[in-house]
């Protein structure tokens, strides 16, 4: 059999895994691999301008397609730069395989040029990592890496390839299957526990379904919908689950947690049964753990046993894949549900409707004053919803407003950094999704603070013809930081004011992308339409009212039913005294 170099084995293995696109940035020790990639056409190599962005693009690709995203970077600084993306993918369970170059085997440990302990650096932020020490192990290792990344609770896997391994030759044999004795994820839930769950659901009077990112990852949207519709139980979504259940569905209560809707938080607090599906009771959802839904029994379905009873006590734990477990649960319920569920749930729904109407999400947009961020996002949503867009966000106020006002209807259309809260995630993630779906509309809702953490990728966007539309909600602040300072630090804006941002229009144009600026309420719709019509990457800079705060808000460590719904009186007074309450802005960028 023909002998292939390690680099050729790498490329062949990726082809066998069905990889179409990789996000990469070269360096000394990975040149052999790049050289082989350069001479083939099956795998598209997208050159990024920073390794962190390569990682986020791989994440965006993975989140949008459900297939593992692939990044290839070099040793040393290449590796340290990608650590943020790995940590982000690990927190949000994103299937991703990252290949890092390493100095030649003989030099490992010698403090060689551009050497870093890639295995040590990535250990706490990957699901698993490999150092390939023998070219004969390379194909098997790559197979295992993809298997681990995409099965069980997905996550990032790092494969560290020393330079000599990419040059040495070996016979190429790609294994058909993998068996790892320490790794056997459970997919089927215990039938006995599922029966207990069904009984609890039938007995509950104020039940709530609480879905998380696991529903997206296991593709269980249809099953969640069947469960909810069959039993008429309301559905709360975490930030990671948006789109996995239609946002405008009559049974949807919207997002819960720190900036969730009033009804979602009240519902879970006063519920008598929580059906948690692929969610992990994150502190941004539970608030004060000791007072989290005090009268509820909790059913928890999750493929990762460590998620169960990590933060809160669970009465019916079911370890398994959301889709498999829900199929079984729905089967049991279908045979048990009798009578009119709508009628049965009426008292609960009356209460929910009361909460829903008492404090719906709202904002006030005066036509002659500065644009409100919520208004802008609402308009983007209204004008693009028919095109089934993929929406990415950065991290901060704009992310929460996007979560509140952009009602996604399909899974895998929402790309956001939930667990790690990585500013700079949105733009490269959008590019990754666009690389996967060239013909789809991909939007990025960013903040002026966040977007500046990865603007260099404008070059990638232009050269690779990735026409993402980036809306910059420009409030000249790290808005969420400013909000916390207004609420909890008496309005002292320590390092939250961004007084020297670039002109985003000129910045985009400098890279060969398009730039637009929308300044008036009356221009918003036309601006959005104009941006959509441009067949290029576009930065749309939208200066907005600077002091808008994101509500409802549960202060960190607060209780879910004790939400702040508007600026507290002392803040209103303080802002009134300094003229901030008026929607006037003296420090416009343009």
């Amino acid at each position: 059999m023909a002998q292939l170099t390690g680099a050729e084995i790498f490329v062949e293995a990726l082809k066998r895994e069905g990889v179409k696109t990789i996000f990469a940035l070269p360096g000394g020790v990975v040149l052999k691999i790049f050289d082989v990639l350069h001479q083939q056409k099956d795998i598209e190599v997208i050159l990024t301008r920073h390794e962190q962005a390569a990682g986020h693009m791989a994440e965006g690709y993975a989140k949008a397609t459900g297939k593992p995203g692939v990044a290839l970077i070099t040793s040393g600084p290449g590796m340290t730069n990608v650590v943020t993306a790995l940590a982000d993918a690990y927190m949000d369970s994103v299937p991703m395989v990252c290949f890092s170059g390493q100095v030649p085997t003989a030099l490992i440990g010698n403090d060689a040029f551009q050497e870093a302990d890639n295995i040590g650096l990535s250990r706490p932020c990957t699901k698993y990592n490999f150092l390939v020490k023998d070219v004969n192990d390379l194909a098997q290792t790559i197979k295992e890496a993809f298997y681990i990344a995409s099965t069980g609770r997905p996550g990032p896997v790092l494969v560290d390839i020393p330079k000599d391994i990419s040059m040495e030759k070996a016979e190429f044999k790609y294994p058909d299957s993998v068996s790892i004795r320490g790794y056997n994820p459970t997919y089927e839930g215990s039938k006995w526990k599922i029966k207990q769950a069904a009984d609890a659901i039938m007995k509950a009077r104020r039940p709530v379904i609480y879905i998380g990112g696991g529903v997206q990852l296991s593709g269980a949207s249809a099953e969640v919908r069947e469960l909810a519709e069959m039993t008429q139980i309301p559905v709360n979504q975490t930030l990671m689950a948006l789109g996995a259940f239609p946002g405008q569905h009559p049974l949807s209560l919207g997002m819960l947690g720190m900036h969730g809707t009033y009804v979602a938080n009240m519902a879970i607090h006063y519920s008598d049964l929580v059906v948690a599906i692929g969610a992990r009771f994150d502190d941004r959802v539970t608030g004060k753990v000791s007072e989290f839904c005090p009268s509820a029994k909790i059913i928890h379905i999750d493929i990762d046993p460590t998620s169960i009873r990590k933060n809160i006590h669970v009465d019916v734990p079911i370890v398994g894949d959301c889709k498999c477990v829900l199929q079984e649960l729905n089967n049991v319920l279908r045979a048990t549900v009798n009578g009119d569920q709508k009628e049965l749930r009426k008292p609960w729904w009356d209460q929910l409707t009361e909460w829903k109407t008492a404090h719906p999400l709202s904002y006030r947009q005066e036509p002659d004053q500065l644009i409100k961020p919520q208004y802008l996002i609402d308009r983007i949503y209204q004008l693009t919803k028919d095109r089934d867009p993929v929406v990415s966000t950065d991290v901060g106020q704009h992310q929460m407003w996007a979560a509140q006002y952009f009602h996604l209807t399909k899974p895998n259309t929402w790309l956001t950094s939930g667990g790690l809260g990585t500013m700079g995630f949105g733009f490269p993630a959008a590019l990754g999704a666009q690389a996967a779906y060239r013909d789809r509309l991909v939007l990025c809702i960013a903040g002026d603070g966040s977007v500046q953490m990865n603007t260099q990728e404008l070059a990638t966007a232009v050269i690779e013809k990735l026409p993402v539309k980036v809306f910059i909600i420009n409030n000249r602040f790290h808005g969420m930081v400013r909000q916390w300072q207004d609420l909890f630090y008496e309005g002292r804006y320590a390092c939250s004011y961004l007084d020297q941002s670039p002109d985003f229009v000129k910045l985009a144009e400098a890279y060969g992308a398009a730039g637009l600026r929308v300044q008036k309420v009356s221009e918003v719709d036309d601006g959005i339409r104009e941006a959509m019509a441009i067949d290029k990457p576009v930065f749309i800079d939208v200066p907005v009212y600077q002091f808008e705060n994101c509500y409802p808000m549960i202060p960190a460590g607060g209780c879910n039913h004790e939400m702040i719904l508007e600026d507290p009186p002392e803040l209103q007074k303080r802002q009134g005294a300094t003229g901030k309450a008026e929607s006037k802005d003296t420090i416009l960028t343009a």
């Binding site: 250990r123 699901k127 698993y128 320490g182 046993p305 460590t306």
Partner: protein
């Protein structure tokens, strides 16, 4: 509460640091940890002594199981187990103390494995209380140096009452 956890894991580089990293990264306690290969050279056996309430121990067991290099995790507190620890104690033993040092070693069935004109090195094996006790008794003589293995533990084989009836004969075909 103290728990002794027995962890079967892949005997390869990095596996130990995954376990150690889990404990430090998640703020779990390690009181002692000892690890060595088993009869199967591809597998190591690790004994971890840790403490925490029920919830923390449940997390530790689950998190250990989640590590891909970990093959099996057993909480030895759930069954009856025997545990042992060894220590090497180098104690001052000038002429007037030499007899006393030997007497103490004898009481604890410890062995003297090295001797110099001014010191003895004593090897002792036992449960934690025994190690503590000998250290306490040797301290007045002056301990120069001490090295301990950390605990290792193994589950007791369940003692079944032996059935007296003879085994049924194999069915004749």
């Amino acid at each position: 509460m103290e728990h002794i956890i027995s962890v079967t894991l892949e005997n390869k580089s990095g596996a130990l640091s995954r376990v150690a990293g889990l404990f430090s990264g998640r703020g779990f306690n390690i009181e002692s940890l000892s690890v060595a290969p088993t009869l199967d050279p591809s597998v190591s056996m690790m004994t971890v002594v840790t403490n925490g309430d029920e919830r923390i121990i449940e997390q530790i067991l689950k998190q250990l199981n989640k590590i891909i290099d970990v093959i099996k995790v057993v909480d030895l507190n759930e069954s009856d187990a025997v545990s042992r620890e060894s220590a090497l104690i180098k104690v001052h033993a000038r002429s007037e103390d030499r007899a006393e040092a030997l007497r103490i070693a004898d009481i604890f069935r410890a062995n003297v494995i090295d001797s110099s004109p001014t010191s003895y090195t004593i090897e002792v094996t036992g449960d934690v209380q025994k190690i503590h006790a000998i250290i306490q008794l040797l301290q007045p003589l002056g301990i120069k140096e001490i090295v301990r293995t950390g605990r290792i533990a193994i589950a007791r084989e369940p003692v079944r009452t032996v059935a007296t009836q003879s085994r049924p004969l194999a069915k004749a075909n």
